[in-house]
Every structure is written in C-alpha cells, then in structure tokens.
C-alpha cells in the first residue's frame, strides 16, 4: 500500500475552490500585460484596461480546467524519459534561483560564480535520488540580463537531467527556448519531449506582472511546461489562517491556469507554489515551518482534486549552515511532501529562506530523498507467506544472510544510503577519523565530481548552443563566457 497523507476533506477542498473562484470573479486579478488582458477580454472576461484589472468568469475557469492536461512528462537532454508528473508519483528537484552559495571551504555565505555553477551541474549528474536539476543559483560573474539564460545553458551543458528554470525578463525567454530547440531540433520534438519547466510567479495578493504573465504566454506558445509559484504569506500578504492562505493560493494559481489554457489549450502546467507562514517575530518567511509545509501539502491536495500535476517548495531549510536544523526541516518537509504525493518536490540543497544553495547540503539531501522515496514504496509482502519455510531455514542455518529470499529482496526492500550517512559502529567511526556529516559530504562531492562524464550531445548541437549564448552575452557587452576559462 502506498502511504498517503491527507490534511483536507473533500468538502473543505470544494469550499476552498469555490471561495477562490468567487474571488477571481468578484474581486478579480491585476494583470500588468495588455496582450494578456486583451486575450482574456476576447474570452469574455470583464477587463478594466486602465486599472489593469480583470474579472474572471466561471465559464473561462471551467474551460481552462477542462483543457488542462492531467500529467506532464519530462525528458532529459539526450531524450530519455525521466518524469511522469501525475497521480502520486514523486520526483525531487533542487531549490532554485538562490542568490548565494554556502562556500564549502570557508563556510561563508557568498555570491556564486560560474565555476560554482559548473561544479553544481556536474554534481547533480551523480545524485540519483534527485531526478531533475534546477537552475539552482544565479552566477554573479555575468551581467544580470543573461544570468537566467546562462545558468540554463550551463545546466544543459554539464548535466543531462531535465531542468526546472525560469526567465527573469520577457526577452530572455527567447534564447532559453532556442537553447532547447537546439537540443530537440524542432518545436514539435520539444513539445513531444519537454526538457524544462518554467517557474512563473504571481505576486501576492492576486497580481501578475508583465514579465511573469508574458512568460506564461510564451511557454504556452511552445508547449513548455510551467509551474505556478503562488506565494501567499500567512498573516502578512495572506490571511493568517492556513485555510485563508489556501483560498488565496487557489485563486492565484487558478488564475495562472486560466492564462495558460486560454492561450494554448492543453499546454502542460503544474499546480505549484511556495507559500509560507510569516514569522512576525523575525519578519521572515520560514520554509521549514510546519505550517508552511502543511499549506504545501494541502494545496497539493487541491491540485490533485482538480486533476493537475503538483509541485511545491518544501524540502528545504532556513538554517544558515549544514546543521541539525538543516537536516530536521528538510527531512520533515521531504517526508510530508512524499507522503502527500507532491509530484515535483523542490528544495534540496537550499538554506536561508530559499536564498542560499549548498553543495554539501545537496548530497545530504539526496539521501533524505532516497529514504523518503523508499518510504512511499510502502510495505508489501514479498514471498513472506506462508511464513513457516523461511523460519525453518532461519532455525536451521541460524542466520538468513545468504538465504535466496534475502538475496532476492535485499536491495528492493532496503535502501542503502551513500557515504554521507554514518552507519558505522562508534569504534569504526573513530578509526576512520571521527568525520562529521559535513566532512563526509565534502568527500562525496569530490568523489562524484571525479566520476562525472561530459555530455554526449553531438558537437554540432553544442556549437549551436554556444553561438546562441554568445550572441545573447554580446548584447550585454560580454565577448567571452566565464565557463570557457575553466
């Protein structure tokens, strides 16, 4: 039995959706994009162009929900299927778009460079329990205007896994799409085998900026999957109650669904989010708070009720170092998320309120992900009945270490974590240097970077991607790209 956590009753889900629809129709949403407003108007929505305000109708909400696909597939750089985001399938992806990195040598939080990014992408190739990469942080050694496209370029160059990403500007979308077209070779091939997910964030409360709403439209135009990242902050930019925050999240996310599906019916979308409790003592948005995680799991239930694939920023921590808080918050989030069946679980590697990535934390979190993936496989009998034969064997042999039953099921039944998780007895642990989890994580990073292998993309494709990126960089005064000097 696949264990499933439920926090909401169907009656409560229906009420939340109903209230959210009322908000969309009666209070409306602010959208700072004339093209989108005009498109919505064409579909019968009441639009106030001067105030950039639109009042949805029940009809267009229903139409959008009807058109939305119930699953999203992803394929890696080489075209191999890696994800089927649907039902209770679960996949992990690193927290994305951090502005800082935790320096593994000095232990300081600092701005990341291209060298850090390349190391990250190589490392991601070896982390088996994290199925996709994200554009996890923003290299600070390139102009801001290309920092979104450049990190995607580096990701595609150094790691095969599909990428959760996003554009910071309207213009950046073009090169980010072209990089994908260079790999897939045609718009149809990219539609058939999506390579990226674009995160698109409404602004709380009930607002879409020009950039993010245009990103939705552009992604829909190319059938590039998007995940909506609504961010209600309970008690600050959203009602203090979890239900109130869920109503807001539902309204903001449904508005995104409408924008995408009216632009391009059937375009792949993911019911995501990054809501948070607001800590009124520290004026912060704790991602490790249990209430944040509860809202995540609950909106995932609403997404599932609407037959949509889901995503949430949940397996992460607000700690500033790889310490016990980092472990406990990430583990709790990952466990709840996996049990809830959030399809794309974002967060591994992330610290400090989604602002700092850590490679050490990534390799530790990879084990948390491995354990939770085992958890959701549940408990099933495997040639356990009738029980007498195996116990006869145990009584006769005194152990079952080499029993055929053991050999057959050992690796299916038990998840064996990698070297970062300490399972040695204390004497062995001391004999091997009394290493901390941080020490072991550093060693694991070194090992994984040592076995990394370059992409098998044809030279022609790599050359095309490089030309695209260089052309983009040249627009902002860069003649050469930092990764070329590594």
């Amino acid at each position: 039995m696949r264990p499933v956590l439920r926090l909401l009753s169907n009656e409560l889900i229906e009420r939340i959706i109903s209230e959210a629809r009322d908000i969309l129709c009666d209070l409306g949403v602010e959208i700072h994009n004339d093209g989108v407003l005009s498109m919505l108007s064409d579909h019968g929505a009441e639009v106030d162009c001067g105030k950039k305000h639109v009042f949805f109708t029940s009809d267009i909400i229903d139409k959008a929900l009807e058109a939305a696909p119930d699953s999203v597939e992803l394929y890696d750089v080489m075209g191999r299927k890696t994800h089927n985001l649907t039902d209770h399938n679960v996949y992990f992806t690193p927290g994305s778009a951090a502005i800082n990195i935790l320096d593994s040598i000095s232990g300081e939080i600092r701005k990341p460079s291209t060298a850090d990014y390349v190391e990250y992408a190589k490392l991601m190739s070896g982390l088996d329990n994290i199925a996709s990469q994200s554009t996890a942080f923003i290299p600070a050694d390139v102009p801001e205007k290309i920092s979104d496209s450049y990190r995607l370029f580096l990701s595609l160059l150094y790691c095969d896994k599909p990428v959760v990403t996003g554009a910071f500007t309207i213009d950046a979308f073009n090169v980010m799409k072209d990089l994908q077209l260079a790999i897939r070779e045609s718009r149809d091939a990219l539609k058939k085998k999506p390579l990226t997910i674009f995160s698109c964030c409404p602004t709380a409360p009930l607002k879409w900026s020009d950039v993010t709403s245009q990103n939705l439209v552009d992604c829909a135009g190319h059938f590039i999957p998007v995940e909506y990242i609504s961010m209600p902050l309970s008690g600050f930019m959203a009602p203090v109650t979890l239900v109130g925050s869920l109503v807001q999240h539902t309204a903001e996310t449904l508005s995104g669904v409408v924008l995408s599906q009216l632009t391009q019916p059937g375009t792949p979308i993911i019911y995501g989010g990054s809501p948070a409790a607001f800590d009124v003592r520290f004026e912060t948005t704790p991602m490790g708070a249990v209430e944040t995680q509860m809202i995540d799991c609950a909106f995932n239930e609403i997404g599932k009720y609407l037959n949509l694939p889901t995503q949430a920023y949940i397996a992460l921590s607000d700690a500033k170092k790889l310490d016990a808080q980092a472990g406990l918050e990430t583990s709790m989030g990952a466990t709840l998320a996996a049990l809830s069946g959030i399809n794309s679980i974002s967060g591994p590697g992330m610290l400090d309120f989604e602002s700092c990535q850590s490679l050490e934390k990534l390799v530790v979190d990879n084990e948390i992900c491995g354990m939770t993936l085992r958890l959701i496989m549940g408990i099933e009998p495997k040639e356990d009945f009738p029980a007498i034969p195996i116990f006869e064997e145990l009584l006769k042999e005194k152990h079952l270490l080499i029993a055929s039953h053991t050999r057959k099921y050992l690796h299916d039944e038990h998840y064996f974590p990698g070297a970062v998780i300490d399972r040695a007895n204390s004497s062995r642990w001391m004999e091997e240097g009394s290493l901390t989890i941080g020490d072991r994580a550093k060693m694991e990073i070194e090992r994984l970077l040592g076995i990394w292998e370059p992409t098998e993309l044809p030279d022609g494709v790599l050359a095309e991607m490089t030309v695209l990126m260089k052309k983009e960089a040249a627009k902002f005064g860069m003649d050469s790209l930092p990764h070329e000097d590594l």
Partner: protein, 213 residues
C-alpha cells in the same frame, strides 16, 4: 593461469559449485595446490574484501564468496597437508564464559574461514581455561574472543593472564571484540588487538601474519 583467474572470478560471484569444480580441474591439471589457493582463491577473496570495505558489495556477497572458498578448501586441504604446505593460520574463536551471544562471533568466524584461515569455533559460554587449552593443543596462532555483556568482559583479561602464566602469550596473538569492548579496553587487559566488526577482524588477523613474515 586462465583457470586460476576463472576460480577467482567465480569465487567473487559466490558460485560455490563452479569454484569447487574448477578447483578440482586445476588439481587434475597438476597446478600446485598452493598456487590454486593463493592465486585463485585468496586473490579472489582479497578483491571481495576490498569491495566490501568500499561498500561496493555487502555482507551476503562476502559470505557467499566465503562459502565458495570453504568448498574449494575442502578439495585442497588434504593436498596442502600432504605437500607440507602450511595453511594461512589457525584461529581459536569463541564467546566468553557466561556470554550466550554469538552472532558477531559467528560472522567473524565465517569471514576468517572465507579469508583462508583455519577456524576452531568453540561456540559460546567458553571458559578461559578452554581457550588456553585448545590454543595450546592446536598450536593456534590467534585467540579471538567476543563479549556482548560488560559483565562477561573480565573473562577476556583472565584469558590474557592465563596465556602469560602458561607461556603462550608470546606465541599466540589475542584479539577481542563485541559491542561493549573498545580499543582502550584491549590495551588495558594486554590483548594484542581489538576489532570493531567482522571485516576489521579479518584485517587484524591478516596484519598479525604480516608482522610475523
């Protein structure tokens, strides 16, 4: 040589019947038994030990290889004795008096056998006198003692003291292990070594013989 590599390969995979058949074939082809043992079997077990240490394979794989090794040694042992070739070493092993726990000790015994040592397993609840008597009678190289209870640990010291009294102390290496036992305790009672798990016990015994060679 190809045959010996085959023996090593099949031993690493834990195919006891194949290893036994190949060992018999090697004997028929008049390959010296010590070569079969060293280049075929022990070389294979060394690879298994290394892989286990690096977590590339797990305990069941080691035990399967050890079982294959034991089967092959049954074929070779009479020939080795006939040729006057010494076996790798002899270990007397047991859980100490009043200690009825023997899972750890059994693992150590299986792994030592698998590594090519002759193991005389005295079982559990073994009095100090018996360790000393059997070690002397069998001309053993190593005494291995295990305890899971702090209350039975003093028996280990008794064995060390008796070995000194009986003039065995310089002849026999004494190794201790078990959950409450530590390196410091081993030093304190005058044991030669402490091992924290089965694989480590094999390494420790191997190191005794390296010291002597």
């Amino acid at each position: 040589m190809e045959l010996l590599s085959k023996i090593s390969f099949n031993l690493q995979s834990g195919f006891d019947e194949t290893v036994t058949a190949l060992t018999k074939e090697a004997v028929e082809k008049r390959i010296p038994p010590d070569e079969i043992m060293n280049i075929g079997l022990i070389a294979g077990m060394n690879i298994v030990g290394e892989k286990f240490k690096n977590h590339e394979i797990f305990l069941p794989d080691v035990l399967l290889a050890a079982r294959a090794m034991n089967c092959a040694m049954e074929v070779l042992k009479p020939l080795l004795i006939k040729d006057g070739i010494p076996i790798k070493g002899k270990v007397v092993i047991g859980s100490v008096k009043n200690d009825l726990h023997d899972i750890g000790k059994n693992l150590v015994a299986i792994l030592l056998k698998g590594a090519g040592f002759e193991v005389i397993d005295l079982g559990n609840d073994v009095p100090a006198e018996k360790f000393i008597r059997v070690a002397a009678e069998e001309n053993a190289d190593v005494i291995g003692m295990s305890a899971l209870l702090t209350t039975t640990m003093p028996v280990m010291k008794k064995v060390v003291d008796m070995a000194k009294d009986e003039g065995l102390y310089s002849e026999v290496k004494i190794m201790v292990g078990g959950a409450p036992v530590s390196k410091a305790f081993a030093l304190e009672i005058g044991a030669d070594a402490y091992s924290y798990d089965g694989a480590n016990a094999v390494e420790t015994v191997e190191s005794f013989f390296r010291e002597n060679s």
